[in-house]
C-alpha cells in the first residue's frame, strides 16, 4: 500500500458526515450531558441509524467494512464536539471486536448483522475491582453445567453497560493465563443486571457502571474461541480497537483545544492588542499545534497499519499514551490561555481537561502502555 496521507473519497465523505452529525445534532446536547451526566439515548440511536456502529464490521456480515482510518476520522470529528459520545461509539466497536477477530462463522452470522444495524449493542466487560491492569486477578467465574456455563461475578467501570443489550464477558474457567474464557451474553438473559451508574468527573453523559452476573446461564455455543482463549481475545480486542479508539477521542479533544485556543487568542484583547501577539500565548498555541500534528501521525499511522492487517500493538500503545498525555496538557494550556474564564463551568476549557483526564485509565493505564512499548523497544537489540 503506498504511503499516502490523503483520505479516500469514501473516508472523506464519512468524515464530513460525522462532522455534520456532531455539529448539528450533538452540539446542542453537550451542555446538558455535562450538567446531568445523562446519556442521550436518541443520539446513540441516531449514530447507529447513520451506520457509525457498522464501520469496522466486514461487509459480508452486513457492515460497512470501511476500516480503521475511517473509524478514527469519525471518532475525531464526534469527539471534537462531544468526547463522551465519541467514547460511547468507540466502545460500541470494541463490543464487536471479539466476534470480528475470533468469532466462528456461525456466531458472526448470528450477531454481526444486528450489530451493524445498531439493534445489538454489546459491552466488552473485562475489568473488575480486583482485576484491571492485572487481568488475571478477575474473580468472575464460568462453571460448566451440561451444555451451558453458569456465570457469576461483578464487573466494574463497564462503558455503555446500561444502554447495551448484549454483554461480552471475560470469566474464569480455570486458573492462570489459560484459565480465562470469553462469552457473549444475549439480550434478556436472566441474571444479568446493570449495577450502579458511575458519576464521573469527565466524559459526563458517557454511561459507565457495574455489570452484575448472578447465575447467568450461557449456552456453550456463545463462547468465543475455545476455553482458555479469553485472555488473548480480550487483549486483542482492547489493543486493536479499544486503544486506537481512545486515540481518536483524544485527537478530537486536542483539535478542539487548538480551535478554541486560536479563536480566543485572536479575539481577546490585552494591552491594546489580541493576546495572540503575546509570545507566551504564541508558544502555547505552537505547542498545542505540535501535539495535534504528532497525535494525528501516531494515530492514523497505527490505523493504517491495522488496515493493512499488520500487527501494531506497540504503535497503538504509543498512540494511546501520547494522545492522552497530549490531550491533558493541551486542555491545561487552553485553560492558561483563557485565564480565569478557563475554569468556569459554562466555558469549554475545563470540560476538555476533565474529559481528557478520564482517558488516562481507559483501555489500559498509561503505565501498561509503557510496558507494551518497552517490549517493542527491546526488539531493537540487534
Amino acid at each position: 500500500m503506498p504511503f499516502d496521507f490523503t483520505f479516500t473519497s469514501e473516508q472523506e465523505m464519512l468524515r464530513k458526515a460525522a462532522m455534520e452529525f456532531a455539529e448539528k445534532e450533538v452540539a446542542p446536547k453537550v451542555e446538558w450531558m455535562d450538567e446531568t451526566g445523562e446519556t442521550p439515548i436518541e443520539l446513540v440511536k441516531k449514530m447507529m441509524e447513520l451506520g457509525f456502529g457498522a464501520i469496522v464490521i466486514p461487509r459480508e456480515y452486513g457492515g460497512a467494512g470501511l476500516g480503521h482510518i475511517a473509524r478514527i476520522a469519525v471518532l475525531e470529528e464526534i469527539s471534537r464536539i462531544s468526547p463522551a459520545l465519541s467514547f460511547c461509539l468507540q466502545i460500541v466497536h470494541l463490543g464487536q471486536a471479539p466476534l470480528i477477530y475470533f468469532g466462528s462463522e456461525e456466531q458472526k452470522k448470528k450477531w454481526l448483522p444486528g450489530m451493524a444495524k445498531g439493534e445489538l449493542i454489546s459491552t466488552c466487560a473485562v475489568t473488575e475491582p480486583t482485576g484491571g491492569s492485572d487481568v488475571l486477578g478477575i474473580q468472575t467465574t464460568a462453571k460448566r453445567e451440561g451444555d451451558s456455563y453458569i456465570l457469576n461475578g461483578r464487573k466494574c467501570f463497564i462503558t455503555n453497560v446500561h444502554i447495551s443489550n448484549m454483554h461480552g464477558v471475560l470469566a474464569k474457567t480455570g486458573e492462570g493465563p489459560k484459565g480465562l474464557s470469553f462469552f457473549m451474553i444475549e439480550p434478556n438473559t436472566p441474571g444479568v443486571k446493570p449495577g450502579r451508574k458511575e458519576n464521573k468527573d469527565g466524559l459526563r453523559g458517557l454511561n459507565t457502571g457495574e455489570l452484575i452476573l448472578e447465575n447467568v446461564r450461557v449456552p456453550k455455543e456463545n463462547m468465543i474461541g475455545s476455553e482458555g482463549d479469553g485472555l488473548r481475545i480480550a487483549l486483542t480486542a482492547i489493543s486493536n480497537i479499544g486503544r486506537p479508539g481512545v486515540n481518536g477521542v483524544a485527537l478530537g479533544i486536542i483539535r478542539r483545544c487548538l480551535e478554541e485556543a486560536a479563536k480566543y487568542s485572536k479575539q481577546r484583547i490585552l494591552y491594546g492588542k489580541p493576546i495572540s501577539e503575546l509570545q507566551a500565548i504564541q508558544w502555547y498555541l505552537t505547542e498545542i499545534y505540535l501535539d495535534y500534528e504528532t497525535t494525528r501521525l501516531l494515530t492514523y499511522y497505527a490505523a493504517w497499519l491495522r488496515d493493512k492487517g499488520a500487527r501494531c500493538d506497540a504503535e497503538n500503545a504509543a498512540g494511546k499514551y501520547y494522545s492522552v498525555e497530549a490531550a491533558v496538557r493541551c486542555a491545561h494550556k487552553l485553560i492558561q490561555i483563557f485565564g480565569a474564564y478557563g475554569v468556569m463551568r459554562e466555558i469549554i476549557p475545563q470540560r476538555l481537561l476533565r474529559d481528557a483526564e478520564v482517558l488516562c485509565s481507559a483501555a489500559g493505564t498509561q503505565e501498561i502502555m509503557k510496558l507494551v512499548m518497552f517490549r517493542k523497544a527491546l526488539e531493537y537489540a540487534k
Partner: protein
Amino acid sequence: MRILNIIVCIKQVPDPKEFSKIAIDPVRKTIVREGIPSIINPLDKNALEEALRIREKYGGKVIVLSMGPPQALEACKEALAFGADEAILLCDRLLAGSDTLATAYALSKAIRKLEPYSLILCGNETVDGSTGQVPPQLAEFLGIPHVTRVRGIKIIDDEAIVESMMEYGYRIVKVKLPAVLAVVKEINTPRILSVFGIISASSKKLIQWCVSDIEADIDMIGLEGSPTRVTDVFTPEVKRRCEVFRGPVEETVRKAVRRLHEIGVF
C-alpha cells in the same frame, strides 16, 4: 401522473466556512480556489433532499447533473451517497468560463438527452455566484415553466402545487409538469450522509459527458459563448456616517426621513 426522472442540478462551490481564505485573482477577476475545500452548494442539497422525498412518495429516478472541472466528481459521488440513482458530470475544457447563460444552455442540452423527465430541481442560487439566474434561464432553454424560491412542493397528477416565498409571505402556484423548481432552504432539512449510503455510492452510475456528447453549439458555451464580462471585482467600501437631528419628535422624524431620501437609502 407517474413520476419519471427527477433531475437535480448541483454545483460544487467553495465551503462558505472558508470564505475568509478566498482571494480574487487581480488579473483574471476570478476566485482563487486553491486550498479551499469544496462542498455541494447548500441549496442544491435541499433540492436533492426534496427529490429523494418525492421519489420516496411517488417513485421515479433521481438523476444528478453537474457541470464543472474533474474535481466536481467528488460532489457527484456525494450526491450518489445521499441517495441519487445516477450522476452525470458535464466536464470539458470548452465549458470553462461559462457565465450563467452558457451554463444554463449546456445544462439544457444535457437534460434534452435525459428526456422524458417530470421535474428539474435546483437550488435557488449558489453561495459563490448568488445570481439565481441559472434555473429560470434553464427553463427558458427547455421551453418549460419555472418557479423560484420554492419552499414546498405537492404533486397532483401532472401538476405541481408549489409554495413560492416572497418578501413578505408566500404565494401558491400551480405549475404544469415538467417544470424547473428552484428551492430555498426552508423547504426541508437535508439528511446527514449515512455510512451505508456512502458505501453504496461506488456501485452507482457516475457518467462524465463532454461537449460533443450533448451536441452543444460551441459558440454558446465557455468564455466565448458568454455575454457576461466581469470588468472588476472588489470589496465595496462601506462608509459609516452619523447625523444627529434634534427637536420635537414629529418634525425630527420628518427631517430624518427627508435626509434618508436625499442620500438614496429609500
